[in-house]
């Protein structure tokens, strides 16, 4: 289906990534957000609070991030599309509810505008150090999807996409921005509503008698009902059977948790988005994401000017990780160079997928700024000599 025109601010805008993310959420169908103020993310919900009463939705500022991250899930079961927005310390507080969303298959979006950590760290300065937390932060086995925009335009486009993926797979989607992408102002083009594809809720059409809240029809994603429609269904964070009833057996646990993982893993090829350039003859591939990919671009240009065979692989989807692409490239390139605003997170994934077939060079940065292109260039030069 197409976007509800009431939420779409069609036109050419000069706005920052945080505001573009808000517009993406509105275009993607979000009609509820719950938040708690935290730098550098708050502008997203500030704009949402101003916009949403004019499009038939609501915003509430909750008492903390725990409340925000569960209020949004209540709203989803009440029929809304919903999201919350935070940064490092708040993201840490939300972890339990990412697990609840994964377990109860509540479609929703968590936006994390990353800043330097650990703890209070660098509230106003960038980092990309929540990437592993986004994947593994809640307890237990589960899969999520994580997207990494590198511009305000992508903050719009990919927020729409994040909502669509969350609905298609009934999974919490992590929207991994960073302070620079959130606060940089660039041109953002918002298309007309009839050019924006929106995935509707996978709502059941079954009768009350036939409806099984966690039954599946082959695609591993159950159909949803909302409170107040007469289905009288039960939702629990406990291990549950197809009826949604708690069932504390290893068999039910195995069936449920494997399905929660497999519904994402089986569709990984379809979910994974990457941007690639000059990979066909590359000796060295720079793997980057978010704001770091903008700096990496400069380093790649400089390296190519020097005649080095460098290719670009940008992760638009961080999770699921595009294993296949790295596995394939590892058989024919010398090395991967992985700059990121942390001391080595996604580089571990590159290394794992490359499995020793190609070298992996990390270009770590503790956050608080971005790399100098020369730092990445030096790594490319070093990698070319492998």
């Amino acid at each position: 289906m197409k976007a509800d025109p009431r939420g779409v601010l069609t036109g050419t805008h000069f706005i920052d990534g945080d505001h573009a993310c808000c517009e993406g959420a509105l275009a993607g169908g979000a009609r509820f957000a719950a938040g708690y103020p935290i730098t550098p993310s708050t502008e997203v919900v500030e704009r949402f609070a101003a916009r949403v009463p004019t499009v038939g939705g609501s915003f509430i500022q909750m008492e903390d991030e725990l409340a925000a991250s569960i209020a949004l899930q209540g709203s989803v079961w009440g029929g809304a599309k919903a999201f919350t927005v935070t940064s490092g310390p708040g993201f840490s507080l939300m972890m339990e509810h990412i697990g609840y969303a994964a377990m109860t298959e509540t479609p929703c979006v968590f936006v994390d505008v990353q800043r330097g950590g650990p703890s209070t760290g660098l509230p106003t300065l960038p980092a990309q150090a929540d990437m592993m937390q986004a994947r593994w932060g809640s307890h237990g086995d589960y899969e999520i999807i994580a997207l990494c925009p590198n511009s305000p335009q992508e903050c719009f486009d990919l927020t729409v996409k994040a909502f669509n993926l969350s609905e298609e797979f009934r999974v919490p989607v992590m929207f991994m921005m960073d302070e620079v992408v959130g606060h940089m102002t660039e041109k953002v083009v918002i298309p007309p509503a009839d050019q924006i594809d929106v995935v509707p809720r996978k709502h059941t059409r079954k009768s009350v008698e036939d409806y099984l809240p966690y039954g599946t029809n082959g695609d591993m994603v159950p159909e949803m009902a909302h409170a107040g429609e007469g289905y009288k269904f039960h939702v629990t964070g406990l291990t549950h059977d197809e009826r949604g009833y708690p069932n504390m057996t290893p068999q039910t646990q195995d069936k449920l948790v494997r399905r929660l993982q497999n519904k994402i893993r089986a569709a990984a090829d379809r979910i994974c988005m990457i941007e690639e350039e000059d990979l066909d003859k590359a000796d060295v591939v720079v793997v980057s994401y978010g704001i770091t990919s903008r700096v990496a671009q400069r380093a790649i240009d400089l390296a190519q000017e020097r005649g080095l065979k460098v290719g670009k692989l940008r992760l638009i989807t961080a999770w699921p990780f595009p294993d296949k692409k790295i596995v394939e490239l590892a058989t024919r390139v010398k090395a991967f160079v992985v700059p990121e605003l942390n001391l080595g997170q996604m580089v571990r994934e590159v290394e794992r997928a490359a499995a020793g077939k190609a070298k992996t060079l990390a270009v770590p940065h503790a956050g608080g700024g971005v790399h100098k292109p020369e730092e990445i260039l030096n790594a490319i030069v070093e990698a070319s000599q492998c």
């Binding site: 009431r6 009609r31 509820f32 719950a34 009463p53 004019t54 499009v55 038939g56 939705g57 609501s58 509430i60 909750m62 008492e63 903390d64 725990l66 409340a67 925000a68 569960i70 209020a71 949004l72 899930q73 209540g74 709203s75 989803v76 079961w77 009440g78 029929g79 809304a80 919903a82 339990e96 509810h97 609840y100 709502h203 059409r205 079954k206 009768s207 008698e209 036939d210 909302h226 409170a227 107040g228 429609e229 007469g230 289905y231 009288k232 269904f233 039960h234 939702v235 629990t236 964070g237 406990l238 009833y245 708690p246």
Partner: protein, 297 residues
């Protein structure tokens, strides 16, 4: 519909998920008694069951959500109220009940309790207070009266306890009552009354935990506790909530302590947007259920 005169079935049975029985609660536990009063209140006040949603947290009382035949959510520990807040805001037509325990609502969820009362969100909160953490084995709760013995205060508690009616009154609740599981009819009446209120309503039910609280404090079994409740309870409608704190063996003040009106969150939100945005304001509405698939297909 429900036929309360038919004596072949328990009148509350249609409101329960009988396919989930037997329940997990211990013999002598009071939670089932409160559910019975709740179900009777629903029947007597002819509440529309389709728009009624029940939200629980974690703990013994948190399991109520799994046993009632309603749209029901068993959420995370302490977060039933914020979950219910989101549910109510997304679909204002829903009648949302939060049914949880004292530890869940006043310790880990204490912040949400006071803020929901402050906002006056239209939620009916039923707090089953067994004065202890029961699911995890009898640890001290914020409600455990001084000198009571628990597994984490084996020499007796020395922390002051929360007086929950006082707390929620101060925070802004429009309806506050307390009963014990001895007062099944009064409890049902209070629940019915709360359904007539718009805003944050809080009903505390003092309930026995014979397995942990009563046993450890040598207070006998479930029946002994009923006798105790009968002897020690004093109906004090309108008593100042500040004076209804509980002690280990002292009087249990019960009754309706607060019944007042002030605009609820959504009423105030609506008024604010109408005033500020005028015709630009679009109210939250929920679409009707999509067309059902015919069962014969």
């Amino acid at each position: 519909m429900l036929n309360v005169l038919d004596d072949t079935v328990n009148p509350v049975e249609p409101l329960l998920r009988t396919d989930r029985m037997p329940h997990i609660w211990c013999p002598g536990c009071g939670i089932g008694t409160t559910v019975n009063s709740f179900a009777r209140a629903l029947i007597e006040s002819k509440i529309d069951l389709q728009s009624l949603t029940l939200v629980s947290g974690i703990g013994c009382t948190g399991r109520v959500a799994g046993y009632v035949k309603l749209d029901s959510f068993h959420t995370t520990h302490g977060r039933a109220i914020p979950f219910a807040t989101g549910l109510k805001l997304a679909n204002p037509r829903l009648n949302v009940v939060v049914y949880s325990g004292d530890g869940d609502l006043s310790a880990i969820g204490g912040n949400h309790l006071i803020h929901a009362a402050r906002r006056n969100i239209d939620l009916k909160v039923i707090c089953v207070n067994n004065l202890i953490y029961a699911m995890t084995g009898g640890q001290t709760a914020p409600t455990t009266p001084g000198r009571a013995t628990t597994s984490t205060n084996p020499y007796g508690t020395f922390e002051p306890a929360f007086n929950l009616p006082h707390l929620v009154e101060a925070a802004g609740a429009v309806y506050v009552a307390r009963w014990t599981t001895f007062h099944v009819r009064q409890l049902a009446r209070s629940i019915s009354e709360a359904f007539q209120k718009k805003g944050f309503s809080f009903i505390e039910v003092i309930s026995p935990c014979p397995t942990l609280y009563q046993r450890r404090n040598k207070m006998g079994d479930g029946l002994d506790t009923m006798k105790y409740y009968k002897e020690k309870s004093k109906i004090k409608h309108g008593a100042p909530a500040s004076e209804v704190g509980l002690t280990l063996n002292g009087e249990i003040a019960v009754g309706k302590f607060v019944d007042r009106d002030r605009p609820d969150y959504q009423t105030m939100m609506h008024a604010q947007y109408v005033e500020s945005l005028g015709e630009r304001y679009i109210e939250v509405t929920r679409e009707a259920v999509p067309e059902m698939e015919c069962a014969c297909e």
